[in-house]
């Protein structure tokens, strides 16, 4: 107990924890859970966009989309590698086992990736809103108390701002195009607005894990706080595009200095979380199939390295 208090004091004084340091078991567990989920979200997040690589409207857009998706694979790897530093005798955190937990449906990834990208405009909306919300969350996480996680966040944030800008640029082009093109952009905003707001998680009073996480200085700001900031910065961006945010309760509140906005569709959120979203099954099946069909690459690489070792010895 005394150690627990000392640890809290240490992290609350803005000190960083490194892999071999003594840490409470629930801190270690919380990190393994959160970091591996974060990693899964990066690699599952590649799927809705991959669908549009072959149909991107120009070579420039195609190169940008490919680079963005490659970044997401890289971000997944940074996070898996950082998670691995937490493994000890009792808790397994190696990449294969955390990845398998996801494939078996035992570990979650961000629900947003269970929504399909139905039109090219959705690729724009994903970059603008989904990456925008993710960046807001990740900028907050740069200051988290676990060294390897915080370093991974710094790298990711540096790389990710282009993701949001390329999305917004796609929508800007559509909004300056024909009436039909602008309508595509509006439809995409309608589809992704509430889903993006849900990325920040349940309301603060419904989020029991948040308090522990904030105590340990893993999360630095509450879900509602981040969500409000996201709404405040995004509304003017939508106005610039000439698009309508699909919320009739959205209104500037002079007194608070923030936008008021409507209640989120939590029932839908819970359904997607339970696995009943539009693409939950498809996403997992795609990942399982890739794992099965590419297993031989790993096996061949290992066989090759063993052969090289034997050659050296003989």
């Amino acid at each position: 107990m005394e150690n627990q208090e000392k640890f809290l004091e240490y992290v609350q004084a803005e000190n960083k924890v490194e892999p071999k340091d003594v840490m409470p078991e629930d801190y270690r567990k919380l990190l393994v859970r959160q970091m591996s989920q974060h990693a899964h979200s990066e690699v599952v997040g590649m799927l809705p966009e991959a669908n549009w690589i072959s149909r991107a409207p120009s070579l420039r857009r195609k190169m940008a989309l490919l680079a963005k998706i490659q970044d997401e694979a890289g971000h997944g790897l940074y996070l898996y590698a950082a998670t691995e530093t937490l493994g000890n005798g009792e808790i397994t955190a190696d990449r294969d086992s955390t990845y398998n937990d996801m494939l078996e449906g035992k570990a979650k990834y961000s629900s947003i990736f269970n929504y399909p990208a139905l039109s090219w405009a959705d690729i724009g909306a994903i970059g603008w809103l989904v990456d925008g919300a993710a960046i807001m969350n990740q900028v907050m996480l740069m200051g988290n108390s676990y060294g390897p996680y915080s370093r991974a966040m710094v790298r990711i944030c540096k790389e990710e701002s282009f993701h949001q800008r390329q999305g917004y640029e796609i929508l800007m082009t559509l909004c300056r195009g024909t009436k039909e093109q602008k309508q595509l952009a509006q439809d995409a905003l309608n589809r992704f607005w509430w889903a993006a707001l849900m990325m920040f998680g349940p309301n603060d009073d419904e989020s029991p894990n948040s308090k522990k996480s904030m105590n340990y200085r893993v999360k630095r700001e509450s879900n509602d706080h981040l969500r409000q900031r996201f709404v405040d910065v995004t509304v003017p961006q939508a106005e610039f595009l000439g698009l309508q945010i699909p919320d009739e309760n959205l209104k500037w509140n002079e007194e608070r200095g923030h936008y008021d906005f409507g209640e989120l569709p939590w029932d839908e959120f819970m359904e997607v979380l339970k696995g009943n979203g539009p693409a939950n099954k498809k996403r997992l099946e795609t990942k399982r199939k890739a794992q099965r069909e590419n297993a031989w690459v790993k096996e061949a690489a290992i066989a090759f390295s063993e052969k090289q070792e034997n050659l050296k010895m003989s």
Binding site: E18, P19, K20, D21, A67, Q70, D71, G74, L77, Y78, A81, A82, E84, R95, P148, R151, A152, E159, K298, A301, I302, F304, S305, Q308
Partner: protein
């Protein structure tokens, strides 16, 4: 598992960037390039099998670094030189 160190430009030290998984040294170098230097962040990469890294992490920090605690005379400010003496 390999530890990855990257030099961001000639003249600077190699700095730890993270880890990478690979079956051979050559693959480790290529994977490290693809994961850690997608935006020209490096002019040179070292990969070192993680199992060969010996670390003081996890040891008692205070005891381990204790020899330097009482050696203020290793710092320039330990020595009193009048302000009138220039260029020192």
């Amino acid at each position: 598992m390999w530890e990855v160190f990257i030099q961001t430009k000639p003249g600077l030290s190699h700095k730890h960037a993270g880890t990478i998984q690979a079956a051979t040294a050559e693959m480790a170098l290529q994977n490290a390039r693809d994961v850690y230097t997608r935006r020209k962040e490096g002019t040179s990469i070292w990969v070192i099998p993680a199992k060969y890294v010996v670390t003081s992490e996890g040891m008692d920090k205070e005891a381990f670094f204790d020899p330097a605690d009482d050696k203020l005379y290793r710092h320039p400010t330990f020595y009193q030189i009048p302000n009138d003496v220039k260029n020192m």
